[in-house]
Subunit: 205 residues, 2 copies
Protein backbone atom coordinates (compact mmCIF):
# COMPACT_ATOMS: atom_id res chain seq x y z
CA UNK A 1 0.00 0.00 0.00
CA UNK A 2 2.92 2.33 0.53
CA UNK A 3 4.70 1.95 -2.77
CA UNK A 4 5.68 4.76 -5.08
CA UNK A 5 2.78 3.89 -7.32
CA UNK A 6 0.48 5.17 -4.63
CA UNK A 7 1.98 8.60 -4.89
CA UNK A 8 -0.24 11.03 -6.83
CA UNK A 9 0.56 10.12 -10.46
CA UNK A 10 1.70 13.55 -11.58
CA UNK A 11 3.88 15.86 -9.53
CA UNK A 12 0.82 17.97 -8.70
CA UNK A 13 -0.51 17.70 -5.18
CA UNK A 14 -3.42 20.09 -5.47
CA UNK A 15 -4.87 22.98 -7.39
CA UNK A 16 -6.55 26.16 -6.21
CA UNK A 17 -9.89 27.57 -7.40
CA UNK A 18 -8.22 29.24 -10.38
CA UNK A 19 -6.70 25.96 -11.51
CA UNK A 20 -3.16 26.88 -10.46
CA UNK A 21 -1.46 23.67 -9.36
CA UNK A 22 0.98 23.11 -6.52
CA UNK A 23 3.46 20.26 -6.20
CA UNK A 24 3.60 18.72 -2.74
CA UNK A 25 6.76 20.66 -1.90
CA UNK A 26 5.46 23.94 -3.34
CA UNK A 27 2.34 23.58 -1.22
CA UNK A 28 4.47 22.98 1.90
CA UNK A 29 6.20 26.27 1.16
CA UNK A 30 2.90 28.06 0.57
CA UNK A 31 1.54 26.71 3.86
CA UNK A 32 4.64 27.80 5.74
CA UNK A 33 4.40 31.33 4.31
CA UNK A 34 0.76 31.73 5.34
CA UNK A 35 0.35 29.51 8.39
CA UNK A 36 3.82 29.86 9.90
CA UNK A 37 4.84 26.19 9.73
CA UNK A 38 4.09 23.14 7.55
CA UNK A 39 1.26 21.73 9.68
CA UNK A 40 0.32 18.16 8.64
CA UNK A 41 -3.38 18.96 9.07
CA UNK A 42 -3.06 21.73 6.54
CA UNK A 43 -1.34 19.48 4.00
CA UNK A 44 -4.32 17.11 4.28
CA UNK A 45 -6.67 20.11 4.33
CA UNK A 46 -5.27 21.22 0.98
CA UNK A 47 -6.12 17.86 -0.53
CA UNK A 48 -9.61 18.12 0.95
CA UNK A 49 -10.20 21.51 -0.69
CA UNK A 50 -8.82 20.11 -3.97
CA UNK A 51 -11.33 17.23 -3.86
CA UNK A 52 -14.18 19.59 -3.01
CA UNK A 53 -13.27 21.94 -5.85
CA UNK A 54 -13.19 19.00 -8.26
CA UNK A 55 -16.64 17.89 -7.15
CA UNK A 56 -18.27 21.33 -7.49
CA UNK A 57 -19.94 22.27 -10.78
CA UNK A 58 -17.94 24.82 -12.79
CA UNK A 59 -19.01 28.48 -12.60
CA UNK A 60 -20.72 27.92 -9.25
CA UNK A 61 -20.37 30.84 -6.84
CA UNK A 62 -19.56 29.01 -3.62
CA UNK A 63 -19.19 29.72 0.07
CA UNK A 64 -17.24 27.50 2.46
CA UNK A 65 -17.56 25.92 5.89
CA UNK A 66 -14.70 24.68 8.05
CA UNK A 67 -16.03 22.36 10.76
CA UNK A 68 -13.01 23.08 12.94
CA UNK A 69 -10.82 26.09 13.61
CA UNK A 70 -7.68 23.97 13.43
CA UNK A 71 -5.83 24.15 10.10
CA UNK A 72 -8.84 23.77 7.80
CA UNK A 73 -9.75 27.49 7.63
CA UNK A 74 -6.26 28.15 6.28
CA UNK A 75 -6.51 25.44 3.60
CA UNK A 76 -9.71 27.12 2.41
CA UNK A 77 -8.19 30.61 2.59
CA UNK A 78 -5.09 29.60 0.65
CA UNK A 79 -6.94 27.79 -2.13
CA UNK A 80 -10.23 29.64 -2.52
CA UNK A 81 -11.40 33.29 -2.34
CA UNK A 82 -13.33 32.51 0.87
CA UNK A 83 -11.73 34.15 3.92
CA UNK A 84 -12.51 34.70 7.59
CA UNK A 85 -12.97 38.42 6.91
CA UNK A 86 -15.14 38.44 3.79
CA UNK A 87 -17.91 36.25 5.21
CA UNK A 88 -17.60 33.66 2.45
CA UNK A 89 -15.96 31.28 4.94
CA UNK A 90 -17.71 30.19 8.10
CA UNK A 91 -15.57 28.64 10.81
CA UNK A 92 -17.63 26.39 13.09
CA UNK A 93 -16.39 24.82 16.31
CA UNK A 94 -17.74 21.32 15.67
CA UNK A 95 -14.35 19.65 16.07
CA UNK A 96 -14.80 17.38 13.06
CA UNK A 97 -11.99 17.27 10.52
CA UNK A 98 -14.25 18.24 7.65
CA UNK A 99 -14.99 21.09 5.29
CA UNK A 100 -17.67 21.92 2.76
CA UNK A 101 -18.13 24.08 -0.31
CA UNK A 102 -21.67 24.95 -1.37
CA UNK A 103 -23.60 27.03 -3.87
CA UNK A 104 -24.10 30.31 -2.00
CA UNK A 105 -27.59 30.83 -3.48
CA UNK A 106 -28.95 27.27 -3.51
CA UNK A 107 -27.13 25.70 -0.58
CA UNK A 108 -26.21 22.43 -2.27
CA UNK A 109 -22.60 21.35 -2.28
CA UNK A 110 -19.99 18.85 -1.22
CA UNK A 111 -18.45 17.91 2.08
CA UNK A 112 -15.03 16.28 2.45
CA UNK A 113 -14.01 14.60 5.68
CA UNK A 114 -11.21 12.51 7.09
CA UNK A 115 -12.53 8.95 7.36
CA UNK A 116 -11.26 7.32 10.59
CA UNK A 117 -11.78 3.84 9.09
CA UNK A 118 -9.56 4.64 6.13
CA UNK A 119 -6.90 6.28 8.28
CA UNK A 120 -6.36 3.13 10.36
CA UNK A 121 -4.04 1.49 7.80
CA UNK A 122 -1.76 4.54 7.64
CA UNK A 123 0.32 4.11 10.76
CA UNK A 124 1.89 7.56 10.98
CA UNK A 125 -1.26 9.49 10.10
CA UNK A 126 -3.36 7.45 12.51
CA UNK A 127 -0.82 7.92 15.29
CA UNK A 128 -0.58 11.69 14.70
CA UNK A 129 -4.31 12.31 14.26
CA UNK A 130 -5.38 10.30 17.30
CA UNK A 131 -2.35 11.41 19.34
CA UNK A 132 -1.28 7.84 20.03
CA UNK A 133 2.26 8.92 20.86
CA UNK A 134 3.78 12.08 22.37
CA UNK A 135 4.52 14.88 19.93
CA UNK A 136 8.26 14.64 20.66
CA UNK A 137 8.30 11.03 19.44
CA UNK A 138 6.50 11.88 16.21
CA UNK A 139 8.51 11.37 13.03
CA UNK A 140 7.42 14.41 11.05
CA UNK A 141 9.18 13.43 7.86
CA UNK A 142 7.63 9.98 7.85
CA UNK A 143 4.24 11.54 8.56
CA UNK A 144 4.47 13.95 5.63
CA UNK A 145 5.69 11.11 3.38
CA UNK A 146 2.67 9.03 4.37
CA UNK A 147 0.25 11.95 3.86
CA UNK A 148 1.67 12.34 0.36
CA UNK A 149 1.32 8.63 -0.36
CA UNK A 150 -2.16 8.38 1.10
CA UNK A 151 -3.44 11.42 -0.79
CA UNK A 152 -7.21 11.20 -1.09
CA UNK A 153 -7.33 7.58 0.15
CA UNK A 154 -8.00 8.74 3.72
CA UNK A 155 -10.80 11.08 2.68
CA UNK A 156 -14.42 10.76 1.78
CA UNK A 157 -16.66 13.06 -0.24
CA UNK A 158 -20.44 13.36 0.09
CA UNK A 159 -23.09 15.77 -1.08
CA UNK A 160 -24.75 18.13 1.38
CA UNK A 161 -27.35 20.84 1.59
CA UNK A 162 -26.65 23.73 3.90
CA UNK A 163 -29.22 24.93 6.42
CA UNK A 164 -31.09 27.97 5.01
CA UNK A 165 -30.27 29.94 8.18
CA UNK A 166 -26.58 29.81 7.30
CA UNK A 167 -27.22 31.29 3.87
CA UNK A 168 -28.62 34.57 5.19
CA UNK A 169 -26.04 37.36 5.03
CA UNK A 170 -24.95 38.36 8.52
CA UNK A 171 -25.29 42.14 8.24
CA UNK A 172 -24.06 44.56 10.90
CA UNK A 173 -27.33 46.48 10.51
CA UNK A 174 -27.72 49.86 12.19
CA UNK A 175 -24.68 51.06 14.11
CA UNK A 176 -25.12 52.84 17.42
CA UNK A 177 -22.70 54.32 19.94
CA UNK A 178 -22.30 52.25 23.07
CA UNK A 179 -23.33 54.39 26.10
CA UNK A 180 -20.57 52.80 28.16
CA UNK A 181 -17.40 52.64 26.01
CA UNK A 182 -18.48 55.20 23.40
CA UNK A 183 -17.52 52.98 20.49
CA UNK A 184 -19.80 51.98 17.65
CA UNK A 185 -21.48 48.58 17.72
CA UNK A 186 -24.39 46.81 15.97
CA UNK A 187 -27.58 48.00 17.65
CA UNK A 188 -29.02 44.49 17.30
CA UNK A 189 -26.59 43.40 20.05
CA UNK A 190 -28.61 45.27 22.66
CA UNK A 191 -28.53 48.46 24.74
CA UNK A 192 -24.74 48.40 24.97
CA UNK A 193 -21.98 46.60 23.06
CA UNK A 194 -21.22 42.98 23.87
CA UNK A 195 -17.83 43.89 25.36
CA UNK A 196 -19.57 46.17 27.88
CA UNK A 197 -22.15 43.43 28.48
CA UNK A 198 -19.37 41.30 29.95
CA UNK A 199 -17.77 39.70 26.89
CA UNK A 200 -14.67 41.87 26.81
CA UNK A 201 -11.49 39.86 26.20
CA UNK A 202 -9.47 42.36 28.25
CA UNK A 203 -8.90 42.73 31.98
CA UNK A 204 -7.59 46.28 31.56
CA UNK A 205 -8.15 48.75 28.72
CA UNK B 1 -8.05 69.23 6.81
CA UNK B 2 -8.14 67.49 3.47
CA UNK B 3 -5.02 68.89 1.88
CA UNK B 4 -2.22 66.89 0.34
CA UNK B 5 -0.11 67.54 3.40
CA UNK B 6 -2.42 65.28 5.32
CA UNK B 7 -1.56 62.37 3.08
CA UNK B 8 0.95 59.99 4.68
CA UNK B 9 4.25 61.81 4.06
CA UNK B 10 6.00 59.02 2.18
CA UNK B 11 4.31 56.87 -0.43
CA UNK B 12 4.04 54.03 2.10
CA UNK B 13 0.60 53.28 3.45
CA UNK B 14 1.51 50.46 5.80
CA UNK B 15 4.05 47.80 6.59
CA UNK B 16 3.62 44.17 7.55
CA UNK B 17 5.22 42.39 10.51
CA UNK B 18 8.39 41.75 8.51
CA UNK B 19 8.75 45.44 7.74
CA UNK B 20 7.75 45.08 4.09
CA UNK B 21 5.96 48.28 3.10
CA UNK B 22 2.96 48.72 0.82
CA UNK B 23 1.95 51.88 -0.96
CA UNK B 24 -1.77 52.66 -0.77
CA UNK B 25 -2.35 51.28 -4.27
CA UNK B 26 -0.20 48.19 -3.72
CA UNK B 27 -2.19 47.43 -0.58
CA UNK B 28 -5.47 47.79 -2.52
CA UNK B 29 -4.15 45.16 -4.93
CA UNK B 30 -3.03 42.88 -2.09
CA UNK B 31 -6.46 43.20 -0.47
CA UNK B 32 -8.23 42.41 -3.72
CA UNK B 33 -6.09 39.30 -4.25
CA UNK B 34 -6.85 37.94 -0.78
CA UNK B 35 -10.26 39.32 0.10
CA UNK B 36 -11.84 39.38 -3.36
CA UNK B 37 -12.46 43.12 -3.58
CA UNK B 38 -10.93 46.37 -2.18
CA UNK B 39 -13.19 46.67 0.87
CA UNK B 40 -12.87 50.10 2.54
CA UNK B 41 -12.95 48.48 5.98
CA UNK B 42 -9.92 46.43 5.08
CA UNK B 43 -7.97 49.48 3.90
CA UNK B 44 -8.60 51.06 7.31
CA UNK B 45 -7.92 47.71 8.97
CA UNK B 46 -4.48 47.63 7.36
CA UNK B 47 -3.66 51.00 8.88
CA UNK B 48 -4.90 49.70 12.24
CA UNK B 49 -2.57 46.70 12.10
CA UNK B 50 0.28 48.99 11.06
CA UNK B 51 -0.31 51.21 14.12
CA UNK B 52 -0.53 48.19 16.40
CA UNK B 53 2.71 46.73 15.01
CA UNK B 54 4.45 50.08 15.56
CA UNK B 55 3.29 50.18 19.16
CA UNK B 56 4.41 46.64 20.03
CA UNK B 57 7.90 46.09 21.43
CA UNK B 58 10.30 44.49 18.95
CA UNK B 59 10.91 40.72 19.20
CA UNK B 60 7.62 40.20 21.00
CA UNK B 61 5.83 36.97 20.06
CA UNK B 62 2.27 38.22 19.65
CA UNK B 63 -1.20 36.84 19.15
CA UNK B 64 -4.09 38.84 17.70
CA UNK B 65 -7.74 39.57 18.37
CA UNK B 66 -10.25 40.88 15.84
CA UNK B 67 -13.31 42.25 17.63
CA UNK B 68 -15.43 41.74 14.53
CA UNK B 69 -15.57 39.15 11.76
CA UNK B 70 -15.96 41.87 9.15
CA UNK B 71 -12.77 42.79 7.29
CA UNK B 72 -10.46 43.04 10.31
CA UNK B 73 -9.49 39.33 10.40
CA UNK B 74 -8.18 39.70 6.86
CA UNK B 75 -6.12 42.80 7.66
CA UNK B 76 -4.46 40.78 10.42
CA UNK B 77 -3.99 37.73 8.21
CA UNK B 78 -2.44 39.75 5.38
CA UNK B 79 -0.01 41.69 7.58
CA UNK B 80 0.91 39.31 10.40
CA UNK B 81 1.53 35.56 10.78
CA UNK B 82 -1.68 35.22 12.83
CA UNK B 83 -4.38 33.33 10.91
CA UNK B 84 -7.83 31.86 11.57
CA UNK B 85 -6.36 28.35 11.22
CA UNK B 86 -3.20 28.57 13.33
CA UNK B 87 -4.93 29.77 16.52
CA UNK B 88 -2.77 32.90 16.75
CA UNK B 89 -5.78 34.98 15.66
CA UNK B 90 -9.01 34.98 17.61
CA UNK B 91 -12.09 36.33 15.84
CA UNK B 92 -14.67 37.58 18.35
CA UNK B 93 -18.20 38.65 17.47
CA UNK B 94 -18.25 41.85 19.52
CA UNK B 95 -19.15 44.04 16.57
CA UNK B 96 -16.65 46.77 17.47
CA UNK B 97 -14.31 47.99 14.77
CA UNK B 98 -11.21 47.22 16.76
CA UNK B 99 -8.28 44.84 16.88
CA UNK B 100 -5.51 44.02 19.32
CA UNK B 101 -2.05 42.52 19.31
CA UNK B 102 -0.67 41.16 22.59
CA UNK B 103 2.29 39.31 24.01
CA UNK B 104 1.18 35.69 23.82
CA UNK B 105 2.89 34.78 27.10
CA UNK B 106 2.26 37.91 29.21
CA UNK B 107 -1.04 39.15 27.77
CA UNK B 108 -0.10 42.84 27.56
CA UNK B 109 -0.48 44.61 24.28
CA UNK B 110 -2.16 47.32 22.24
CA UNK B 111 -5.65 47.84 20.94
CA UNK B 112 -6.51 50.03 17.95
CA UNK B 113 -10.05 51.15 17.30
CA UNK B 114 -11.98 53.44 15.02
CA UNK B 115 -12.93 56.51 17.06
CA UNK B 116 -16.47 57.64 16.17
CA UNK B 117 -15.70 61.17 17.41
CA UNK B 118 -12.75 61.47 15.07
CA UNK B 119 -14.63 60.01 12.13
CA UNK B 120 -17.34 62.71 12.26
CA UNK B 121 -15.28 65.28 10.34
CA UNK B 122 -14.59 62.88 7.46
CA UNK B 123 -17.84 63.05 5.53
CA UNK B 124 -17.38 60.04 3.25
CA UNK B 125 -16.00 57.73 5.93
CA UNK B 126 -18.68 58.75 8.41
CA UNK B 127 -21.40 58.23 5.85
CA UNK B 128 -20.07 54.81 4.80
CA UNK B 129 -19.34 53.54 8.32
CA UNK B 130 -22.67 54.59 9.80
CA UNK B 131 -24.58 53.73 6.61
CA UNK B 132 -26.03 57.22 6.32
CA UNK B 133 -26.80 56.75 2.63
CA UNK B 134 -27.70 53.73 0.49
CA UNK B 135 -24.75 51.71 -0.83
CA UNK B 136 -25.72 52.57 -4.44
CA UNK B 137 -25.26 56.27 -3.72
CA UNK B 138 -21.84 55.77 -2.15
CA UNK B 139 -18.94 57.35 -4.00
CA UNK B 140 -16.33 54.65 -3.58
CA UNK B 141 -13.49 56.63 -5.12
CA UNK B 142 -14.13 59.61 -2.85
CA UNK B 143 -14.35 57.25 0.12
CA UNK B 144 -10.98 55.62 -0.62
CA UNK B 145 -9.44 59.05 -1.21
CA UNK B 146 -10.68 60.18 2.17
CA UNK B 147 -9.47 57.01 3.92
CA UNK B 148 -6.05 57.68 2.46
CA UNK B 149 -6.07 61.31 3.60
CA UNK B 150 -7.40 60.50 7.05
CA UNK B 151 -4.85 57.75 7.65
CA UNK B 152 -4.45 57.24 11.38
CA UNK B 153 -6.39 60.41 12.26
CA UNK B 154 -9.61 58.41 12.67
CA UNK B 155 -8.00 55.81 14.92
CA UNK B 156 -7.01 55.56 18.52
CA UNK B 157 -4.46 53.32 20.23
CA UNK B 158 -4.54 52.20 23.85
CA UNK B 159 -2.78 49.58 25.92
CA UNK B 160 -4.64 46.47 27.05
CA UNK B 161 -4.14 43.29 29.01
CA UNK B 162 -5.84 40.17 27.71
CA UNK B 163 -7.94 37.97 29.98
CA UNK B 164 -5.83 34.97 31.14
CA UNK B 165 -8.56 32.60 29.95
CA UNK B 166 -7.91 33.68 26.36
CA UNK B 167 -4.22 32.85 26.65
CA UNK B 168 -4.77 29.15 27.32
CA UNK B 169 -4.15 27.07 24.21
CA UNK B 170 -7.41 25.60 22.95
CA UNK B 171 -6.33 21.97 22.48
CA UNK B 172 -8.49 19.37 20.76
CA UNK B 173 -7.56 16.93 23.54
CA UNK B 174 -8.48 13.28 23.23
CA UNK B 175 -10.24 12.35 20.00
CA UNK B 176 -13.10 9.85 20.05
CA UNK B 177 -15.35 8.39 17.37
CA UNK B 178 -18.87 9.78 17.41
CA UNK B 179 -21.33 6.88 17.97
CA UNK B 180 -23.81 8.53 15.61
CA UNK B 181 -21.87 9.81 12.55
CA UNK B 182 -18.75 7.68 13.05
CA UNK B 183 -16.40 10.63 12.60
CA UNK B 184 -13.72 11.71 15.04
CA UNK B 185 -14.43 14.59 17.41
CA UNK B 186 -12.96 16.07 20.61
CA UNK B 187 -14.20 13.90 23.49
CA UNK B 188 -14.52 17.02 25.63
CA UNK B 189 -17.54 18.00 23.49
CA UNK B 190 -19.62 15.21 25.06
CA UNK B 191 -20.99 11.75 24.31
CA UNK B 192 -21.41 12.56 20.62
CA UNK B 193 -20.04 15.23 18.32
CA UNK B 194 -21.62 18.68 18.33
CA UNK B 195 -23.02 18.20 14.83
CA UNK B 196 -24.93 15.12 16.04
CA UNK B 197 -25.98 17.09 19.15
CA UNK B 198 -27.97 19.39 16.89
CA UNK B 199 -25.40 21.88 15.66
CA UNK B 200 -25.01 20.48 12.16
CA UNK B 201 -24.97 23.20 9.50
CA UNK B 202 -26.54 20.79 6.99
CA UNK B 203 -30.15 19.76 6.35
CA UNK B 204 -29.06 16.73 4.33
CA UNK B 205 -25.75 14.86 4.32
Amino acid sequence: MRTAANVHPSDDWIRDFKGTTYSFDAFLQRITAFHGYPAPGLVIGGKMVDLALNAMPPDCLFDAIAESGHCLPDAIQILTPCTAGNAWLKVLDLGRFALALYDKHRGNGVRVFLDPGKVAVWKEIDSWFFKRKPKAEQDNEALLREIRQAGEKILQVCTIRVHPGLMVKDSVGTRALCPRCGESYPLKHGASCRACQGESPYTTV
